[in-house]
């Protein structure tokens, strides 16, 4: 069905929930206070007025129009490690003993929670080989950001503020470049060579005494492991820089090799990827920073410690970069990931990687048999947990682009992701199987992609006019890319398209001499 917007539902006077009322004494106190408020809201907010049952029906319908990995075989979303999120871990995370804790209630009443933080940090130290951990960041990108801020504080503590360059690679996740820039660094990106690996020579070319850090993903987003990684790290160390490892997706390497083994000074894990916590439609997520001893003093405060058998929060961290989010981390996700690790242990974690890499190589093997699909780069053919395919030959032959195939795959109930920008691989498609799907489920994906690829040859219009079997038709997205036409809310729509007048309010105006800002060229998400 075509579900209307919530703003179109309901009728005046309908109510979804009623807040508790006040007794006369409380009301009287409130009246006295209200008189002192200079700006109470003059009119009611123009919110929907909808009964509870209808709000629920509406939201459940929207949920059914959403594919999650609990519903579909979600291997089409590379770099995201969409694995199974065990239900029991949700139950634990949502129990009152987690969900109903206030972060500042007395420490004596949250000993179990603090214990879990400490144990989880220990687990992740073992898994990374590094020596200290912070669970505070709210995502992998936030952890990458935290890592570069710690590097910055480290150099500053050594009076090496001249170090203003961060080096990254073209297949490292964009957040490495972006967080470094946000922290004020100049970003130098090493392009990969033709076989997909960044070369040690190109690193040498850009290295100077101004290097603050190398920020690198490995295996990179294309599923290829750079065998020279230790040489990279060593070389950066030689120049006085630190090496920060983006382990957003560590699914390929559990039990195989650790950040510490290659000499990294810091890494991060995404608990919602490798460690089985859910993605929640795009967060709340959770990132963990792991660092060597030399960066430990700079960890975000507070740090959870155990002293004389009692768990406590240590705020006395003079070199700390401070907080990177309001409290101690996304607790629910931390509990889920903690339970996930406990359930698996050493052997189970190793099996995760074995399963993920085997599944991925199976998918690779099968998809390469579809005409027009190639796996460029890494000519020796080895892939770990994911593959960035190229459909250039298929596009050349049929005129159908990878992004169009992606939309058509939605008709078959699958996600299909192309690539981060810029598209280095032409007509890219990046898939990641993880360990969580059975062979017959992988075969469903393979069969559908085969069918869609065949359609592209025989009936390109069918593919290009997709989707045909989902809740919405092909969107004309020209409207969302220009300020004159875009509609970021129905409030905007009313004024922009319906001419509804909105009250004049005081606003900042550009002052004289302010230059026109420069904008990036428009881009689409796909």
């Amino acid at each position: 069905w075509n579900e209307p917007l919530i703003t179109e539902l309901g009728a005046p006077g309908e109510r979804g929930v009623l807040p508790p009322g006040s007794d006369p004494d409380m009301r009287e106190s409130g009246s006295r206070a209200r008189a002192g408020i200079p700006s109470t809201r003059p009119d009611l907010a123009r919110l929907p007025e909808v009964g509870q049952a209808q709000v629920l029906r509406h939201m459940l319908r929207l949920s059914q129009e959403t594919l999650g990995s609990h519903l579909n075989v979600d291997i089409g979303q590379g770099t995201c490690t969409i694995k199974y999120n065990p239900m029991i871990n949700d139950d634990l995370a949502l129990s009152d003993e987690v969900a109903q804790l206030h972060p500042l209630q007395p420490e004596s009443t949250v000993q179990g929670m603090l214990q879990i933080f400490v144990e989880m940090e220990e687990f992740l130290c073992k898994i990374s080989g590094l020596s200290a951990c912070s669970l505070q960041p709210g995502s992998g990108s936030a952890a990458i950001y935290t890592n570069i801020r710690m590097v910055q504080a480290y150099h500053r503590s050594r009076n090496e503020e001249h170090r203003d360059v961060v080096i990254t690679t073209s297949f490292s996740h964009p957040s490495n470049a972006a967080t470094a820039r946000s922290a004020g660094y100049e970003v130098v990106t090493i392009e990969s060579t033709e076989d997909g690996y960044p070369s040690i020579e190109s690193l040498r070319e850009v290295l100077t005494e101004n290097v603050a850090a190398l920020m690198i993903t490995n295996p990179e987003d294309i599923g290829v492991y750079n065998p020279h990684i230790k040489e990279f790290v060593d070389l950066v160390h030689e120049f006085g820089g630190l090496a920060v490892y983006d382990q957003a997706n560590a699914n390929a390497l559990l039990g195989i090799t650790r950040a510490a083994d290659a000499g990294f000074d810091a890494c991060q894990f995404n608990l919602h990827k490798t460690f089985g916590a859910p993605h929640f439609s795009g967060g709340p997520a959770s990132g963990a920073c792991l660092v060597s001893e030399k960066l430990e003093p700079f960890l975000p405060a507070p740090v959870v410690v155990k002293r004389d058998g009692v768990y406590a929060l240590d705020h006395d961290r003079p070199l700390s970069i401070g907080k990177v989010r309001p409290f101690y981390g996304v607790t629910g996700q931390i509990v889920r990931a903690y339970a996930w690790i406990l359930a698996l242990g050493d052997e189970g974690l190793a099996q995760v990687t074995q399963g993920a890499v085997l599944n991925n190589n199976y998918l690779l093997h099968e998809l390469l048999q579809i005409e027009g699909i190639e796996a460029p780069l890494a000519p020796n053919g080895h892939r770990l947990e994911q593959v960035r395919f190229s459909l250039k030959k298929l596009t050349d032959r049929t005129g159908v682009r990878s992004a169009e195939l992606a939309v058509r795959m939605a008709d078959f109930g699958f996600h299909y992701w192309t690539s981060h920008h810029p598209y280095v691989v032409p007509e890219p498609a990046t898939f990641e199987t993880t360990e969580s799907y059975s062979r017959s489920e992988l075969d469903q994906f393979i069969a559908s992609l085969k069918a869609v690829a065949a359609e592209a040859a025989t009936d390109p219009e069918l593919v290009q006019s997709a989707p045909h079997r989902v809740a919405v038709s092909r969107i004309d997205d020209s409207a969302v890319n220009t300020p004159e036409t875009w509609i970021p809310s129905m409030r905007s729509y009313r004024s922009k398209y319906l001419g509804e007048a909105t009250a004049e309010v005081p606003r900042w105006e550009p002052f004289e001499g302010l230059p026109e800002p420069r904008r990036n060229a428009p881009a689409a998400h796909r």
Binding site: L44, A45, L67, G68, T257
Partner: protein, 432 residues
């Protein structure tokens, strides 16, 4: 499967990892708890050492607030589809896109601003981004923060904004002081309402005018749960409104339930500086049908790497959906009643503590929303000791600001009996 793909062994798939880097020993983790039941018992045993705030009377706030969470919010947040969805496109995840667009719509109404982005991580980061936006737009690097601000929040913002903003100075909310603190190099004036001590009597309009007079952008951080009671800051001159969605149905979760929002007018100078994703409604091939897709995606670091605005990752989409449900359930009247209920209780608690607890309330004659500072007499135990003693009464009595001051939060979850119970316990322990 190995045979099928022509691999010799599992090991052969890892040939790219040099043997010198191979991990030789297992991690040394605890033995696996492969039975779900064993796992649950193990974790629950640890968790049983926590006392949920719902099994006590909780008056802690300072950035996280115990508000009622409607059951429908819990149901929606727990729907397996929303739990397990991620980066799906407007087609296969139409419902998710619509839910997020609806969030933008209802927040836009509450805030009286046309553009509300998909959430960033938390309110602190949202405040930091708001200041960075002001810095980028104006080209200036100095900001002035007006009124009281939690230390943690101040530290987090200062950390986040560098180097775009390199100086944050502070001013009281007194309008003359604000004016005195401003100059033409000021990128932004930052005001929080309610502020860190719960005060809600700043003259927002006058501060806005003062900021605009020197070309500074006026950033207001607000808890949206107050906006049934308080005027939308945009209506008084705020250029960027930011805050946290925790209070709108997202629960406490030991501080793990934050989501920052950013709102601006539909002005490209501002919109193009938003770092997060933002969805727009767009026509489809079917007459009258709407789809929802990224608006000006090129802003983001996902599209433009270091040339994008700041950086984004997986922030807090589900919290936005929950907040949207919360606002839709409450509607205009519910939000007003909720604001009233909190104001009434706050005011009652302040008066009653001043009258009966043997302690002072700071700024007792000024209006507060949800929070206020209790100043203990010299004869009382230290704040930390007092709080531990209150635990024995089943009361989490607030947050110690220092040895003699407590920050106390009262919300609609508290009945009059709850407040009176707290005050009796407080009176007893203050006098002890």
């Amino acid at each position: 499967m190995l045979r099928h793909i022509g691999a010799e062994s599992l090991e052969s798939l890892f040939v790219d990892v040099p043997s010198a880097l191979r991990q030789l020993e297992p991690f040394g983790l605890p033995p696996a708890l492969r039975s779900e039941a064993d796992l649950a018992r193990y974790v629950r045993r640890r968790l049983s050492r926590n006392t949920p705030a719902t099994r006590a009377l909780n008056f802690c706030g300072a950035g996280v607030y115990q508000h009622d969470v409607p059951s429908v919010c819990v149901e929606v947040a727990g729907r397996a589809e929303f739990v397990s969805a991620y980066a799906g496109e407007p087609y296969e995840d139409h419902g998710k896109h619509q839910a997020l667009f609806e969030y933008q719509c209802v927040m836009a109404e509450l805030l009286e601003m046309d553009v509300v982005s998909i959430p960033t991580y938390d309110g602190y980061q949202a405040a930091g981004t708001a200041l960075r936006m002001a810095g980028r737009i104006t080209g200036h690097r100095r900001a002035v923060a007006v009124g009281s601000l939690l230390d943690d929040k101040r530290s987090r913002i200062a950390e986040y904004v560098a180097p775009t903003i390199d100086r944050i100075e502070h001013s009281t909310a007194d309008i003359a002081a604000v004016r005195a603190s401003l100059d033409e190099a000021t990128a932004a004036v930052f005001l929080e309402i309610p502020d860190a001590e719960g005060l809600i009597d700043a003259d927002i309009r006058a501060i806005a005018d003062a900021a605009h007079a020197v070309g500074a952008i006026f950033v207001v951080s607000v808890d949206p749960i107050a906006l049934g009671l308080l005027a939308a800051p945009a209506s008084l001159g705020a250029d960027i409104v930011c805050g946290d969605l925790q209070s709108l149905g997202n629960g406490m979760h030991f501080g793990g339930a934050h989501a920052g929002f950013l709102a601006v007018h539909d002005d490209p100078r501002f919109v193009y500086e938003l770092p997060t994703r933002l969805f727009g409604a767009a026509p489809t091939r079917v007459e009258g049908e709407l789809g929802f897709t990224d608006l000006a995606y090129e802003r983001t670091s996902l599209a433009a790497r270091e040339n994008g605005v700041e950086w984004i990752g997986t922030a807090s989409s589900l919290s936005a959906i929950v907040a949207s449900v919360f606002l839709s359930l409450h509607g205009p009247h519910g939000m007003r009643e909720l604001g009233d209920a909190i104001l009434d209780r706050t005011s009652y608690a302040m008066e009653a503590i001043a009258a009966r607890a043997g302690a002072q309330v700071r700024d007792a004659d000024r209006p507060h929303f949800r929070e206020f500072v209790v100043v203990l007499p010299d004869t009382a135990p230290t704040a930390d000791a007092l709080l531990e003693r209150l635990v024995e009464h089943g009361v989490f009595g607030g947050v110690a600001l220092n040895d003699s001051e407590l920050l106390v939060a009262v919300t609609e979850v508290h009945t009059r009996d709850d407040i009176d119970t707290y005050i009796d316990a407080l009176a007893q322990e203050v006098a002890a």
